[in-house]
Symmetry: C2
Subunit: 312 residues, 2 copies
Amino acid sequence: MGEVAGQPGSSGTDHISICEVSLRDGLQNEQQIVATADKVRLLEALCAAGLGHIELTSFVSPRWVPQLADAEQLADQAQPPSGVRLSALVPNAKGLERVGRTKLVEITVLVSASETHNRKNLNQSIDETLAMLVGVVGGARAAGLQVRGYVSMAWGCPYEGEIDPARAVDLAQQLQNCGCHQIALTDALGVASPRQTRELVRRLLDVLPAADLALHFHDTRGTALANVLAALELGIRDFDAAVASLGGCPFAPGSAGNLATEDLVYMLDEMGLDTGVDLEALLAAGHLAEQIVGRPLPGKVHRAGPFRREPR
Amino acid sequence: MGEVAGQPGSSGTDHISICEVSLRDGLQNEQQIVATADKVRLLEALCAAGLGHIELTSFVSPRWVPQLADAEQLADQAQPPSGVRLSALVPNAKGLERVGRTKLVEITVLVSASETHNRKNLNQSIDETLAMLVGVVGGARAAGLQVRGYVSMAWGCPYEGEIDPARAVDLAQQLQNCGCHQIALTDALGVASPRQTRELVRRLLDVLPAADLALHFHDTRGTALANVLAALELGIRDFDAAVASLGGCPFAPGSAGNLATEDLVYMLDEMGLDTGVDLEALLAAGHLAEQIVGRPLPGKVHRAGPFRREPR
């Protein structure tokens, strides 16, 4: 097992890509509806911090997720610096139709590794979702869009409990076969431990290259960064995170939300890994997020600040 | 680098020892003074959860830490089940005199790896502390007590910033030379990352066996379990933690407190490592701690609960 960052076996100057999901996964789980102008301000702050990949919104039905009902307006008003990838979640053909009328060039589709969760989330079976996605991903690709695929509840499900990693691996492969360029495995329940992460990642690496994989942890049980460490050691270089740990999971009571981007960047910085993100500017974005949602956000580095290395 | 728990290179049935520090490190950082009877109730709940090593209190001057002014009474009233080790922090000869009048048979002494922090904490230089500890540890050993040694601020200091790991290693050796049977390196500032942890642990292992070492993390920046994972992989099997993440560090604003015992046990359980601790009973102890201090405690598993593996 290889270590990273200046340790034996290291490749030295590894770059870690972060997909910032606060505007979608964060805000869809907030009680209140944030104004489009505030989302634009947060987007600008996230771009200013150096984040290069930002999940902007979801083209889900506004009846299901009113928090993201302004998807078109936000996509229209977003003016990221060149080089920043913006993506949006697209749950179905209707969503693809909507995103097609915007300037966005990357979408994310999703399927759950839990049959029960998939039914509750998408109102159809996993097989029905996969059949639908063949059309959606094919249509998106034909329209020149890049497509990222989520396999959600890959470690565990609030309804079904443990999930067989073989199911998550099979779905990852099927999403890639549909035409997804990257597969992100998500633990929205926040139950992953390094042992399960190693097992799942090893099985994934049997069928997909590390560069095509990303991991999406929630820090519900404090294990998110330990899972990142375990995955880094196996060669994974893409992680999702949300500034200040915005959001949570409606199905996981007490959920602490996504892995905080500040916590991830802090650890990677301290390990000598390059993220391209400036922690001070990211902290400012987190404080803006807190101001916008009007409640204290739980991110740890967000609350404690960075390590001041210089003597006072 | 060896993995643990059912992975290649694993020794399979590793036991991890946890030193529960909520009654000392937790309560000394709480605003209010908890009644001795409540401390006894919490101790009983911690013992019922299966914790085998509990730091009960500190024989520090009641003027400095009024929260622990009842050290003698608590030591007197504590009736742990057989096999449970109770220890108490002893900062100086006066503390040793006090502990000598109790039934406790294990103490902890401490020195800081930061000269400035040592002066602020103990009102003397590191060299003066070491000279004093020769007498205290020698006296304790002569009286039949076991002595654990803390090297505090081993990763970083709020005043001096980064700490040279060589200083922490040197102090660990000196404490062992004084007669300490185990050395615990502490990161009360909560700045450790897995890279620094690996570097420090590797250097420590050059001079001390893994069995003589323990690590004490605070989860201020979300990295505590990642550090535990890095240390596990290097053979460390002893960790400090505090139920529900009680406490914090008066020198680290926004500090999230000690690594929560529930989070540690959760991760180790999920990794197939044996702690001897029952998570459900530990969660009950955490809820009692919350009731006793009268404020919500931030431990993550404390708030989210365990992973329910069975389908609902």
